[in-house]
Symmetry: C2
Subunit: 437 residues, 2 copies
């Protein structure tokens, strides 16, 4: 490493994307240039900002001459040290990231969709190019969770990760819990307040959370999990009745990303679905659009990381933290440890996932119902923890809480229950996390 | 950097201390040797374990021949890559760490007392020696907080850190809250259950938390804060009445380490004292011996890091995370960014600290008392947020909640109140954090 104490090196940075996060990153790179130089040991020079369309009147924190619509040419300049990718989506983001790495730049990205779909290609490209690929901003916004999993817990064994990783759905479920609103009403309110998009599909159907689950599971278990491997259920079918029933049990309903492994550690699974969790669980008190990731590891025990999961400024904080790290590494001509997927564990399907269940049945209010219902559970070796009858006559309902069972056994049980003549409808099946209910 | 793909390098590790944490670290270094080698890219070889006294019958996870009582000779071998210091206290730990660095080893330590007393000497020595000095285990056990502050938030501006960083005092205050016990009773129970030591001074008088406050403030504000700079009050004077009064206000009492800065950022302060915080504050639900650190930063907003604050296995997890990092750095012949204390900010004394207060006064139950009391506050420009009278006759008590004021103004107010003939006693003064009470 050569060193010129009187001629500090400049590192060249290109920014792809100038939306809420990109413009905040540009603003901070400009405003805090001196301080960042001190932290890195080199000045960062913003040499280009790629935008989707030519808008000469765009407000920028930098010389507007740096704006370009030719991102492909920008990443191929050959003199870049760091490329910050904040375009999102699969293409052209993937081609641009690969080209940036090939042409010698380290990459900082917040692109969860791309990492979850094709992380292995990107990480392989980074390793081949001997450059960093950093992505703290891709999961849970400003919350430092990628670095702790990659570095702090690297001497430990993560057993399980539970995350509230989508602020929109947490806001909606929280509103349903607080106000008794149904899903549609709460969604409309979230849209009105700017917490949900006009097309909320990616959030409410769990696609966004599933991408993050894939990234978290890959990191936690040192194996490659893609979004295709993640079982996904959204919150559109969660009813006010289920929220109320959870409340009766001392629980709240949360959309969780769950990454866990089989008893022997040989196989892993990642899934996203609504879950009832006890109110005294640390994740239960995560309100509104906040995110939190709960990690259970062998030595460290139970850890939780909490903070804003989205937004321009919080996400920009995560991006800048990565920029400082990869810039320092460029200066030292080293890279962070590559992604380790040596474990190559088997992926469990949802049928093998083991959890507890809350099942509500509309039943005929007559003798023998409970016996028949109990038999359906016993036939499938699903053990019952508690049963409660609610209402009478046409409103009679049975609520059953099970002990831990596989999803496959539970599905068979539900099928059998549906076929019983005295069961009018299986009105709710929801998974339950946490002990002691 | 030379590379021998078929002859992987071995890194030599010495362990100082073989107590609860040290023995767990030794066990994991041995048990997980293959996995750690894969993560680091080199095998770790434990070449010596320094213990305080010769006990040949000691149970060890390693060849007992590695045990030595001559720590000074061990750290001077000259062939060590990593020294893990888990002795604690100032001496001989300081001399051993300095000698280890001088002789070419990177150091991983969990020694909060030493870092808080003399961090600048140690960090300067590490920088001179071009070696790492890592200390994730020194604050909040297994919770990754040092690395997020040093690295993840390095592109952001931390405004404030509030931490529950001592499990013993949190356990005692939690027990007082749950059971209505007084301090002495709750302490005895904590001792019986192993959550407090026979001599609990370091915990209950806030020394342990003050050391951690100094470390957190130094990191958060990029300036050097020592334990001498930390205003410290313990929990021995917290009464069951104060806990009950907090509960009435929708608050709980916590011992907090508080690091903040003046409005203009030019000065910083660190202090440890009991605080009433609203029950809906994320720190309020941190129960038992758990720790949590709450960080407010300009861009990221409010973050919280939660987990076990002590114990052999959790602390060993933090130590091993550091060992993997510094070992990788030794292999690459680089070091982590040095501690940055370039900010050299002025330190505020407790008199300049600004917070809100809960003050309870035993008063004569007669007309004019409130007017006189209110005047004492007004005279010192301390604005009153709420007043409540409790009891009558000999039991009459006024509870006053103030708006934000400096500690100096509050002290003058309390003095003036004590001098009032109708005030029999100022029975409680406690600081209040959080808005909206």
């Amino acid at each position: 490493m050569t060193s010129h104490p009187h001629e500090p090196r400049t590192l060249r940075v290109a920014l792809l994307g100038h939306g809420a996060v990109g413009s905040e990153v540009a603003r901070l790179l400009t405003r805090d240039a001196d301080e960042l130089a001190q932290r890195i040991g080199a000045r960062l020079e913003l040499v280009g900002v790629a935008v989707g369309s030519d808008r000469p009147d765009r407000q920028t924190a930098f010389d507007p001459a740096l704006l370009t619509t030719d991102a492909a040419a920008l990443v191929r300049r050959g003199d870049l040290d760091v490329v910050i990718e904040l375009i999102g989506g699969i293409e052209p983001a993937r081609s641009l990231v690969l080209a940036a790495l090939e042409h010698g730049a380290s990459v900082v990205t917040g692109n969860k969709a791309l990492l979850a779909e094709d992380g292995s290609t990107l990480f392989a490209a980074a390793e081949d190019a001997e450059r960093d690929l950093s992505y703290e901003a891709a999961v849970a916004g400003a919350i430092p969770i990628i670095r702790p999993l990659r570095e702090s817990l690297t001497g430990d064994h993560v057993r399980r990760v539970l995350g509230i990783v989508n602020g929109t759905t947490n806001f909606i479920l929280d509103a349903m819990t607080t106000t008794g609103q149904g899903f549609d009403e709460a969604l409309a309110e979230a849209q009105r307040l700017g917490f949900a998009e006009a097309d909320p599909t990616a959030d409410v159907e769990g696609f966004d959370a599933a991408a993050k689950a894939a990234i978290l599971a890959s990191l936690a278990f040192h194996t490659r999990v893609t979004i295709e491997d993640v079982h996904r259920e959204g919150i559109t079918t969660v009813t006010a009745d289920e929220i109320a029933s959870a409340d009766d049990m001392g629980c709240v309903v949360k959309l969780l990303a769950i990454c866990d492994q089989s008893m022997d550690g040989g196989a892993v699974s990642a899934r996203v679905h609504p879950v009832m969790i006890p109110k005294d669980h640390p994740l239960a008190s995560v309100r509104g659009a906040y995110n939190a990731v709960f990690v259970e590891s062998e030595s460290a025990g139970q850890l939780m990381f909490y903070g804003p999961g989205a937004g321009g400024a919080p996400t920009a904080s995560a991006v800048l933290g990565d920029v400082v790290s990869v810039a320092r590494n460029r200066l030292l001509e080293v890279t962070a440890p590559p992604e380790r997927t040596h474990a190559r564990r088997r992926l469990l399907g949802i049928g093998d996932a083991r959890t507890r269940y809350h099942i509500a049945l509309d039943v005929d209010d007559k003798a023998g119902v409970l016996a028949s219902v109990a038999l359906a559970f016993a036939d499938n070796e699903v053990s019952i923890s508690a049963v409660r009858q609610e209402g009478h006559g046409d409103d009679a309902q049975l609520v059953v809480i099970t002990h831990t069972a596989t999803d496959a056994a539970l599905s068979r049980t539900v099928q059998q229950l549906s076929d019983l003549p005295m069961v009018r409808e299986v009105s709710s099946v929801m998974r339950v996390e946490g002990e002691g209910l």
